[in-house]
């Protein structure tokens, strides 16, 4: 099909709600008006790792304006969840409200529902939780050492276990050790990224409204409406037909609104009080409590020939999932599949491991899994170029995959465009390349 036959591709498409965005009339969840609305505020763990010995809510319950206080004992259905459980990912490892232990600083322990946000905040401060502080671990490689503090019986060694008892998402292709022995150069380094907050303009939140017909309507800004509906139904032990989730208008997400933190507890609060309840993260909660992008540590070892060909690449990656799984097993698998980058390398070995630490659970953010991998690989490519004294553009062009090449995870390359992309970038950047490189093509490895 030629471009001229396409009706949508290549054409600008107007956002459906752009007309009301510019007049301020778009209704975000918080703009929904309901009478007699209550406000929910969360009492959160002050420790990164501690055993809960007792939760005393009596003073909070008698605090002015408080309607009710919810702890794990009030949960009618599941006490543990994972957003992707419905898609077969698991196990469900994250408490809706902490019960036996807290595993990160900021974890939800008890919810106060009061007439005003200020009254709810005042009562949150009156909740007394007795803790026995436990040793915590914050580093991925420390966490998987023998004798490291264990977060949960789900993960005896503090790392995720993939199907068939694999500790890592893995690629084995060719023989890296043999190729390392034959290589002219070995280039080796480690790369570390930090957690990054998505920082949407609108913080996470929802309003749950009990309806006359026994249903509850939930106005939410979640990016994961169906997951949230599913999880909420499980936690409330309610059929999904009793829950009406209204969403789609999200004041910025970037992955930061797939946590499914506000909806289940707010829906339960509405059910218990019979009144509309709003739960809105403060900006501080958005920064400190909502999930971030994971921190990743990536070790790369490459075997390189004098002519620039990379003949072997070995990658070992530790993803810091934080205290719970959330989407990490998916992200780590994606990271693994991204290796060894857009290059054809005949010998590849990859181990990417999801590690649990006492840090804020991490989750989605734009290209999660891939971004940290690309960062590590492309800095490594520059390092190789420097080591062997080759132009970094030429090094990439030599190794870029071509149409029909076999990728390390045994899928043939289709619609390759890497060479053309590099050449176009070189032209835009004013980079002069020798003619044989300018004549390279994705369709023909021998060209150029």
């Amino acid at each position: 099909m030629a471009m001229k036959d396409l009706k949508i591709v290549g054409q600008p498409v107007k956002l459906r709600d752009l007309d009301t965005h510019v007049t301020g009339e778009t209704v975000f969840y918080e703009d929904v008006r309901v009478p007699r609305m209550l406000h929910l505020k969360m009492h959160r763990s002050r420790y990164p790792h501690a055993r809960i010995l007792g939760i005393d809510t009596s003073q909070a319950l008698s605090s002015p304006g408080v309607v009710t206080v919810l702890t794990h004992e009030d949960l009618p259905g599941k006490k543990l969840y994972n957003a992707l459980a419905g898609a077969g990912v698991g196990p469900e490892d994250e408490p809706v409200l902490a019960f036996d232990k807290v595993r990160w600083k900021g974890e939800s322990v008890a919810a106060v529902i009061a007439e005003t946000p200020e009254q709810a905040n005042a009562a949150v401060a009156k909740i007394k939780v007795e803790y026995e502080e436990l040793p915590a671990v914050f580093d991925v490689e420390e966490a998987i050492k023998d004798g490291a503090p264990n977060l949960t019986a789900h993960w005896p060694n503090n790392h995720y276990v993939y199907p068939d008892d694999h500790r890592a998402a893995q690629i084995r292709y060719g023989d890296v050790e043999k190729a390392f022995a034959e290589a002219d150069h070995i280039v080796e380094d480690s790369y570390q990224t930090q957690p990054i907050e998505q920082a949407p303009m609108e913080t996470n939140g929802c309003i749950a409204v009990p309806e006359g017909d026994g249903r509850i309507t939930v106005y939410s800004n979640t990016q994961a409406l169906q997951f949230s509906l599913d999880v909420t139904a499980g936690i409330l032990d309610m059929p999904t037909s009793k829950l009406r989730f209204v969403g789609g208008t999200v004041g910025g997400g970037f992955g930061g609104k797939v946590d499914i933190q506000p909806e289940p507890i707010t829906t339960l609060a509405a059910l218990r009080t019979g009144r509309p309840v709003k739960f809105k993260y403060t900006r501080e909660e958005e920064m400190q409590v909502s999930s971030s992008r994971s921190a990743w540590r990536v070790y790369v070892k490459d075997g390189v020939m004098n002519d620039g060909r990379i003949i072997a690449r070995k990658v070992t990656t530790y993803q810091d999932s934080g205290a719970y799984l959330r989407f990490s097993s998916y992200a780590c698998m994606k990271h693994c599949g991204h290796m060894p980058g857009p290059y054809t390398i005949p010998n590849v070995s990859v181990d990417s491991i999801v590690v649990f630490t006492n840090r804020t659970p991490s989750n989605a953010m734009r290209g999660f899994g891939v971004m940290a991998g690309s960062f590590a690989l492309e800095v490594q490519m520059d390092k190789i170029a420097e080591t062997i004294g080759m132009d970094p553009w030429e090094l990439r062009l030599i190794n870029a995959y071509r149409e029909g090449d076999m990728k390390a995870h045994r899928k043939e390359v289709e619609d390759a465009g890497m060479v053309e992309s590099i050449l176009a970038a070189a032209e835009m950047a004013g980079k002069q390349l020798p003619e044989n490189f300018r004549n390279m093509s994705s369709l023909d490895r021998k060209a150029g």
Binding site: P12, K14, L15, D17, L18, D19, T20, H21, V22, T23, G24, E25, T26, V27, F28, E30, D31, R33, A199, P200, M201, E202, T203, T249, V250, G251, G252, G253, F254, T282, R283
Partner: protein
């Protein structure tokens, strides 16, 4: 606590608020008066989504005690919506794709109005500086700046005719 009556004019309409405790102008506009274009992105003056015009001056409503604007005229985007100039600006925003999630957009509109009231022919740099207190996480700002540039050019063209 002693209560007092605060009288303000919002978008041309006289309003009275009875309050004794510290109450932000943002809270009054959003929650008492239902002007929901006034967004609450941070409650700490960091994002600009709650920008309004008080007596002709751009202000952050989240850091303004309503008691401090007693007797003032307050304008939100709802109040600007009927003017020809904002309608033309809104059209440019649509043409240039200058809004994505839409959450910062009302604050942007108000801040741009305040800019153009002070300076009808701002340079690109002056536009960027005038919007420096309004954070957008989606667009990367360029389409917004281009929308303002194009409305400025259009207005100059009309003035030159």
């Amino acid at each position: 606590m002693a209560s007092g009556i605060v009288s303000i004019k919002v978008n041309g309409r006289a309003e009275e608020v009875v309050t004794g405790a510290v109450t932000t102008l943002q809270d009054v506009l959003r929650n008492n008066l239902d002007y929901t274009s006034v967004k609450d992105g941070c409650s700490q003056g960091g994002c600009g989504a709650c920008s309004v015009i008080v007596d002709g001056e751009l202000r952050l409503s989240c850091l303004t005690p309503v008691q401090e604007v007693d007797g003032s005229e307050v304008v939100t985007l709802e109040g600007l919506n009927l003017s020809n100039s904002i309608t033309a600006l809104q059209q440019k925003f649509i043409e240039k794709y200058a809004a994505q999630c839409g959450f910062c957009t009302p604050g942007m509109m108000v801040a741009i109005t305040a800019l153009l009231d002070r300076n009808a022919n701002p340079s690109r740099d002056e536009i960027a500086e005038a919007l420096a207190g309004n954070i957008c996480r989606c667009t990367g700002y360029l389409p917004i700046i281009e929308a303002v540039e194009s409305i400025v050019a259009e207005m100059a063209g009309i003035a030159g005719d």
